[in-house]
Amino acid sequence: MAILSKDEAQNILKKVISFSKADECSATLNGRMRGNIRYARNNVSTAGASDNVSLVVESRFGKRAGVATCNQFDDDTLRRCVQRAEEIAKLAPEDPEYVPLLGPQQYLTPVSFAQSTASITPDFRAQVAGDSIAACQSRSLTAAGYLEDGATFTALRNSKGLEAYQQGTNLDFSVTVRTADGKGSGYAVADFTDVSKFDAKAITKIAADKAAGSVNAQAMEPGKYTVILEPAALVSDEGLLNRLFYELGAREADEGRSFLSKKGGGNKLGQKLFDERVTIYSDPLNPEVPSNVFDGDGLPAKKMTWIEKGVLKNLYYSRFWAEKNKVAATAFPNNFIMTGGTQTTADLIKGTAKGILVTRLWYIRDVDPQSLLVTGLTRDGTFYIENGKIKHPVKNFRFNESPVIMLNNIEAIGKPQRLGGNLVPPLKIRDFTFTSLSDAV
């Protein structure tokens, strides 16, 4: 039930629109099938699965809008849902940021769905956990990991003739491996559209090797260091580049409350803000990181360059802000792709005389939105590099650094890798600011 076909979904939406008495009506069907398994202390701790389809109806009378939802799709329920949205709309205050619904749009053909991932079973998940645990137990190591997979669809339709449909799949896997004495810890993470590319044992081995290799870390003085940041340190749940991507909104910049606001008013579009090797774009059809071809408003997603050779080329404009500023609106991007070279992380290490290899960062929080300064800590695999080789593990550091400053201090850029649905290269950065030591392992 959770993944309806295009025809099944649009047939429901057509009925919804036909029941509408409002000036404008839009309807969205979202469906999701999800499963997960979690393990720790070399044992499965929890596992679950869920599926759900829900309908959101938005009705508008003039500038007044009302929204209602339901998760059953017989005619009576659909009628009631539309009526409720209309009742709420009549009572709502006028929205000063009202923009009319979009008419028909042209969309790219999405490539973000893999049947193999949509067909994952609970037995498969138990096998993944079992394999990962076994790979650690045989080395007297302890695994804690998490696998989550899902298939989704979204269908839109509105009274102006807009019609859209897309499906997607995703699998996220992460594992932290610790030594029995608690003196070593390693981490690895990966995500996929197609499960057939997923190898839990290989990913677990990376974490296990880092755990075994990080025992008896030595303390080094905090200060400015050359660092190699692996992709997990850049765009995972706690990634240094996340904050930069979030801040690409035009409205905040124009309102004067973003690092992209210009002194005296306006924003920094067209200015060179980063090293000229920095190019960041979004592309829903990239085969490595395919993503949605439209956003929640029905705006078509397309290839969009945000930063090109260090210059800020585009900002994210909502439909309201775009209309106010007489520019084209932007679909909110669902992936970020940072271009790079051909060097692996191992190659970057080989080319480093002295530096620190960072596997993962943790608890990154804004310190100053004016400069985008953030703080956080290294975690689960931090190593000292000397003369092109990993010399020894080091104690974890706290850092205070701005990704804006960091992207002006680039020494080398490696080969982009998929992480969190994005494509990001490992980066070698000079003068990265570590401000204190942590005893955490």
């Binding site: 202390r41 929890t46 679950g48 205050p93 002194k263 205070n400 392992v441």
Partner: protein
């Protein structure tokens, strides 16, 4: 980049349009009238028994069922306009079982006897599948059944009974106060939650609970176009386990802040209009405030700031699931290891530091009669005279540390999530000698006074932390000497708590709250309060956070 990550709870302006992605604020959008309905406990008991019987028949040795209606309402505004109003309901049931010594869990939104029985059977099936890779059998601390009992948050006014127009009017009035006093922008919001939870287990408990929480908040921003500088000041409210009465200010609930700051501390009621007025003035003052000179300072920390430091450096560190390694892959483990606890003399803090875990404190976010695995709640010591004496535990952990009872801190954010160990209210006890905040400050030669939550970050074992705040004042020779900016302090948890040199008395005691505390995979939120009085810490490392990016 996932869309839900873009929402970011700090970015309330963006959050309005994508409300269902805020944890705890999903569910189906409903007519606000629906929020006042209740389901008859007799009906829930019948369905619960269907689930328990089905689980036992399928081979479960233990089963519990939680039938929950999770209701929420939120109102978002900015400046002079409403951004979003949503009322949500999520109704369903989760069944948890032990079969072959292994946990299994399944949830359903088909709240019928047949639907629950089916979920129970699926939970047993999952438990049996997972038992093939299970090495240690689950052992539950014994728990007697309570029969049919109930508990309700002792509120004076159900927030859902208050017309939405009245809430909008209040938020817009607060925005107007901020704009009139120099704010460039202001976002305000009101979150309200009601959990109608029914728990039943094969131990013989049938527990009906009605839990309420509320959180009014805002962010005021001032932009100085000429210099390009911008600063913001958040509300100094707390999320609370109270009804709408929290928004009717009472003088008895207000504590004057240090002389020269204009700050007011709030207990069980909050004056949003006064705070919005002050916030705009303080945000303006922040634009021109002096930048802190880094170095060692004595810190004087207001309860509305210190609560988050307690939360991160003690609350999370004493959660037994972290200590044991269950959260190693995400939230992390803990420096407060079992070997330290077993010595019975691990000096977590100075002798002044007494930390109590409490699931009963009136007005707190964590107050419930029974937890989500049917254990009656209470309070217990975590740190006594500075020494680590206990942890926060649930039923399947107690035996691992040789104890025979749960502390009653098991929680799930909804019926469809599995319950696990979550933080109780963890609070610093006030000083026993009479002392006001001004009494405390007059003995500080070189210090910084901090109120409100700011940037906060701590490592995965809770050793090293860095905290900012909402407003900062220099203390020089026993007096407040003006606002300062760019302040953060970095410390090691044990060193920090051992530098605790004075605590104000009970008259200064107030609660800080965390409404969206995240933990677990998949992540779940919970809400928790932390009480304290203003507290002094000596010789803490303060850094300057200002940077130039051109």
């Amino acid at each position: 980049m996932k869309r839900r990550e873009f929402v970011g709870l700090t970015s309330l302006a963006a959050g309005a349009l994508f409300l269902p992605s805020i944890p705890g604020f999903g569910g189906s959008l409903v007519d606000p009238e629906r929020l006042l309905e209740q389901v008859d406990p007799a009906v829930k008991k019948r369905m619960a028994d269907a689930a328990l019987n089905a689980a036992k028949s399928a081979g479960a040795t233990y089963a519990d069922v939680r039938i929950g209606r999770y209701l929420n309402q939120s109102v978002f505004t900015r400046e002079k306009q409403v951004q979003n109003i949503a009322s949500g309901e999520s109704y369903g049931a989760g069944v948890r079982v032990i079969a072959n010594g292994t946990w299994g869990f399944a949830a359903t939104n088909s709240v019928t006897e047949a639907g629950l029985a089916k979920a129970a059977q699926l939970a047993v099936q999952i438990a049996k599948a997972n038992s093939k890779v299970q090495k240690e059998q689950v052992q539950l601390a014994p728990q007697k059944g309570y029969g049919e009992v109930s508990w309700k948050t002792p509120i004076q006014q159900n927030a859902f009974e208050v017309p939405i127009a009245q809430k909008v009017e209040l938020l817009l009035a607060a925005n107007a106060k901020a704009l009139d006093n120099g704010a460039s922008f202001v976002n305000s919001s009101l979150f309200q939650i009601n959990e109608q939870k029914y728990f039943a287990s094969t131990d013989g408990s049938y527990i009906d609970q009605d839990i309420h929480r509320i959180w009014p908040t805002f962010t005021v921003s001032v932009v100085d176009r000429a210099t390009g500088k911008f600063r913001s000041r958040d509300a100094l409210s707390s999320p609370m386990g109270l009804g709408y009465e929290y928004l009717t200010p009472k003088a008895v609930d207000q504590v004057a802040g240090p002389a020269g700051t204009g700050l007011i501390g709030y207990r069980n009621s909050y004056d949003i209009l006064a705070d919005a007025t002050l916030a705009a003035k303080q945000a303006k003052e922040k634009i021109t405030a002096k930048s802190v000179v880094p170095g060692k300072y004595d810190l004087v920390l207001d309860p509305n700031h210190l609560g988050l430091t307690i939360h991160e450096s003690i609350g999370h560190a004493t959660e037994l699931d972290r200590v044991l390694g269950y959260e190693a892959n995400y939230a992390g483990t803990s420096f407060a290891t079992l070997d330290k606890w077993k010595t019975k003399n691990f000096q977590y803090g100075s002798k002044l530091v007494n930390i109590v875990a409490d699931k009963t404190q009136p007005g707190s976010l964590g107050a419930v009669g029974y937890d989500d695995e049917g254990v009656k709640t209470g309070q217990w010591d975590l740190i006594k005279n500075g020494v680590l004496v206990d942890y926060q535990k649930i039923r399947d952990q107690a035996g691992i540390v040789g104890q025979d009872h749960s502390d009653g801190c098991c929680y799930a954010q909804s019926w469809q999530d599995v319950q696990f160990q979550r933080m109780a209210n963890v609070s610093l006890q006030p000083g026993t000698a009479k002392m006001s905040v001004d009494d405390m400050i007059k003995n500080v030669d070189k210090g910084v006074y901090i109120a409100g939550r700011g940037s906060y970050s701590i490592d995965q074992q809770r050793y090293n932390f860095q905290f900012g705040g909402t407003v900062f004042y220099a203390i020089e020779k026993g007096k407040i000497a003006g606002m300062i900016e760019d302040v953060a302090y970095q410390a090691n948890t044990q060193e920090f708590w051992n530098s605790c040199a004075a605590i104000c008395d009970r008259s200064d005691y107030r609660m800080f709250g965390s409404f969206f505390d995240g933990k677990g995979q998949p992540s779940q939120v919970s809400a928790v309060s932390h009480g304290s009085a203003t507290t002094r810490f000596n010789g803490v490392n303060v850094i300057n956070t200002a940077r130039k990016i051109g």
